[in-house]
């Protein structure tokens, strides 16, 4: 029986086995089918790759036309994809403190003040036209500091129209963010600050020589056109020009690369009147007035300025010097008729700066090696500064006794100031400035002697971006 069942099983197996093999063979894809499938897979991969490629092309095209928004320590910028058009939002905030240590501290009240509050909008349109608009809301008034457009047609030919810094004083041309003392030195008080007009400027010889020629409404020493509400008060204009060389600017020489020197000057012939005398006043670093003309004196003709200037920066050390003379024709009705004379006023300064923390000194800006952080134990940049500056008024201003252009019992003939300071750069945008300045005078006291020395502590918290 068992043998019979075994035989039946073998017989069934013999029949089924070939059928199963045949079925299995029928399920195997042919070579042609395999090639077809391979081709389909290959096409699918190519399609995916191409779709990716098209997406990348589309994204790249979109990126080319998309604007760019940037934020950095230099401000906030909205820029077209090609960079030809951009608008930057920047700002400058100077919070000052002034204190006089002199016995006669009634000349200037000890005070905190907002010295500069300037939102700055600047940018470029069409790739070569730069513009800048800077209002200033400090000290309870609104002033337009800058409002100009510059066409950069070529490195050697740039045309500016609007209100801008007159190209005369070296320290005046240094940005308010970069000056090393709270207040600029005396030579700056003899040159025009900002004025309205036209300027042609350029950089030649691979930036080793810069020039500026400006044609301006004309402003008083140290002052801006806002003294006249930014409106011209007469038909007379002022020419100003400056040429400045940095002969080793592109040199490998560490010792010479930071040397720059030049000369600037201006000329105008303007007639003042009882309303606009067109004559200046001069102040100490603490902003106390130590010289002013009598109220009846007016400008009456030529005003000429000459201003040789130099700076030198090498590593941690920086030096800046300038000498300025302004010759002003002055007239005043006196007891013997109208007195006229030329008053020559000179000022000069030399200032030195040294980064204790190792940063490089330069005319334009600073970059601290570290930022102040208690957490990280870093202290930012530390810089010491010192300067000597003086302003000397021509004796012609005091000649004539009671008919003198300036009252010798109220105005000093000369102010000499020595100042030292410490600057702490907490980071690229924030600094704290501390100055100690001592000013001595020749004349100017009511008793005919010298005005009392002025000792001043000046401090500033400055934010700039």
């Amino acid at each position: 029986m068992r043998i019979r069942r075994l035989g039946q099983g073998l017989l069934a197996a013999a029949f089924i086995a070939p059928l199963a093999v045949a079925q299995a063979q029928a399920q195997q894809p042919t070579m042609e089918e395999l090639l077809q499938r391979l081709e389909q897979q290959e096409q699918a991969i190519k399609v995916l790759e191409r779709r990716l490629e098209i997406k990348e092309e589309t994204d790249a095209t979109a990126a080319k036309s998309a604007g760019v928004v940037k934020a950095s320590e230099k401000g906030f910028t909205v820029q077209s994809a090609d960079g030809a058009n951009n608008v930057k939002l920047r700002g400058l905030l100077h919070i000052d403190g002034r204190a006089l240590l002199s016995e006669d501290d009634t000349i200037v009240d000890d005070q905190f003040l907002l010295r500069r509050v300037r939102p700055i909008v600047e940018g470029t349109v069409g790739g070569i036209y730069d513009f800048r608009f800077t209002p200033d809301f400090a000290q309870g008034r609104t002033v337009i500091q800058d409002a100009y457009v510059t066409g950069r047609f070529a490195p050697g030919f740039q045309l500016t129209a609007g209100k801008f810094k007159a190209p005369i004083g070296l320290e005046r041309l240094q940005s308010a963010s970069d000056i090393r003392f709270v207040e600029r030195a005396y030579p700056t008080q003899l040159v025009t600050n900002r004025d309205i007009g036209l300027q042609v400027a350029g950089n030649l010889l691979e930036d080793r020589l810069a020039y500026q020629v400006a044609y301006l409404n004309g402003s008083n020493d140290g002052r801006s056109s806002e003294d006249f509400s930014d409106v011209e008060v007469n038909d007379d204009k002022e020419w100003a020009g400056r040429i400045f060389a940095q002969p080793f600017a592109n040199s490998d020489s560490f010792a010479l690369r930071g040397l720059g020197f030049g000369v600037a000057g201006s000329y105008t012939s303007q007639e003042g009147n009882a309303t606009q005398t067109l004559l200046p006043q001069y102040r100490t670093p603490a902003q106390s007035t130590f010289f002013k003309y009598r109220s009846a004196a007016v400008a009456t003709g030529d005003r000429t300025r000459i201003a040789p200037q130099v700076y030198y920066y090498a590593g941690r050390f920086g030096l800046l010097g300038e000498w300025t003379e302004v010759s002003q024709d002055v007239a005043m009705p006196g007891t013997l008729g109208v007195r006229e004379d030329q008053v020559d006023t000179t000022a000069w300064q030399i200032q030195a700066a040294f980064f204790l923390s190792g940063e490089e000194e330069s005319f334009k800006g600073y970059k601290p090696n570290s930022v102040f952080s208690l957490e990280n134990g870093t202290w930012g940049g530390w810089e010491i500064v010192a300067r000597y500056h003086e302003l000397d008024i021509d004796d012609a201003a005091f000649d004539g006794g009671g008919d003198s252009f300036a009252d010798p019992l109220a105005s000093a003939r000369k102010a000499s100031t020595i100042g030292v300071g410490l600057n702490w750069y907490l980071n690229q945008n924030l600094k704290w400035v501390l100055n100690y300045e001592v000013t001595s005078f020749d004349g100017g006291a009511a008793d005919g002697g010298d005005r009392e020395d002025e000792e001043a502590i000046l401090t500033r918290v400055a934010v700039g971006f």
Binding site: Q43, K46, V47, R50, R51, I54, E57, F153, D235
Partner: protein, 335 residues
């Protein structure tokens, strides 16, 4: 300042301004914003025109070209690209410059002969050597398993001609109507794996990336592929019915007047109708308008039955119905 000094200063400034402006005013440039496949045509034509313009007493001229999908190019001009002339794939793209950009008058098409179309073209099929999928006519493109390459009608003028040619064929089939035509178009676009933004991109997809069985192509672009991108690798198939594509040209008045290039821009387009230009056009496989030149190159342009844009009620109607936002193409492609 005295009067004489003022006069001197003014004169000096005027002279300075004139001296600075002189080189700028002397230089003459023209920007031709065109559609995708015309790169090679206008490279040759620009050289010929510059030579011609000089002989006519004109100044040296530099002609710049910009190419892309026709619709996309029109958008760019509307957005501010200072095109002195446009040479686009279809009239509706230039109409957009009128309606959306107000850059030229509405009668622009009447300002030059033949509706401002100095050359025509048509739509053909480019298949791989041996035509492995045996594609003969539009109906084959909607069959399962056939991979079709055509650009996006939303951005490419050529793609709109492709679409309309297919639509016209479907309408002519037995029992054909708008519903059956749309059904056919839907099946066709289901076979499209990649939608490029322009015709040149689709040429790259088909000829260089090796994707697809058939490329619905401008006639000139198909020749370019067979002659330059893969000699011996492709075949051109003329379907039983195609469409007469009339790429138009126009001066962009607002730009040309502002830039002082109106005269040279007009001359640039008028010269397209000259014998010399028509010869260049024919050599680049665009169908010339000039009968003499057309006869000379007749063997290069097989005669096939063609519909025209008038069969669709003109471009304004066709554009709105088929390619406008929410139009037939949007419905077909998104559903």
């Amino acid at each position: 300042m005295t009067q004489s000094n003022w006069t001197l200063l003014r004169s000096g400034l005027l002279l300075l301004a004139a001296a600075l402006a002189a080189p700028v005013l002397h230089a003459e440039t023209l920007l031709n914003v065109s559609y995708d496949p015309t790169r090679e045509l206008y490279e040759d034509y620009n050289a010929a025109f510059a030579k011609y313009w000089k002989t006519k007493g004109g100044k040296d001229i530099t002609i710049k070209q910009s190419h892309g999908g026709s619709g996309k190019q029109a958008r760019t001009v509307i957005d501010g690209l200072p095109a002195d002339v446009v040479t686009l794939a279809l009239a509706s793209d230039i109409d957009a410059l009128v309606t959306q950009g107000k850059l030229l008058p509405a009668n622009w098409q009447a300002r030059l002969p033949q509706n401002s179309s100095p050359y025509t073209s048509t739509i053909v099929f480019l298949v791989r050597k041996g035509n492995p999928k045996q594609i003969k006519d539009w109906g084959d493109l909607a069959k399962p398993g056939v991979s079709v390459i055509t650009p996006n009608p939303k951005t490419s003028g050529g793609a709109r001609w492709n679409y309309l040619a297919a639509y016209a064929w479907a309408l002519r089939q037995p029992g054909g109507n708008d519903a059956t035509a749309q059904g056919f178009i839907k099946k066709l676009y289901k076979n499209v794996p990649v939608l490029d933004t322009g015709a040149r991109g689709s040429t790259t997809t088909f000829a260089q990336r090796g994707i697809g069985d058939v490329f619905i192509s401008w006639e000139n672009e198909a020749y370019l592929a067979t002659e330059e991108l893969g000699p011996g690798k492709f075949e051109i198939i003329y379907p039983s019915l195609s469409i007469l594509a009339e790429p138009p040209v126009a001066v962009v008045d607002k730009v040309a007047l502002r830039r002082g290039t109106a005269d040279v821009a007009r001359a640039y387009l008028e010269y397209l109708y000259s014998k010399e230009a028509q010869e260049i056009i024919a050599r680049h496989h665009y169908r010339p308008r000039d009968s003499e030149i057309a006869a000379k190159y007749a063997k290069d342009f097989p005669k096939i039955e063609m519909v025209t844009i008038k069969d669709f009620g003109g471009w304004a109607k066709a554009q709105k119905e088929h390619f406008g936002d929410g139009g037939i193409f949007d419905k077909i492609y998104t559903n």
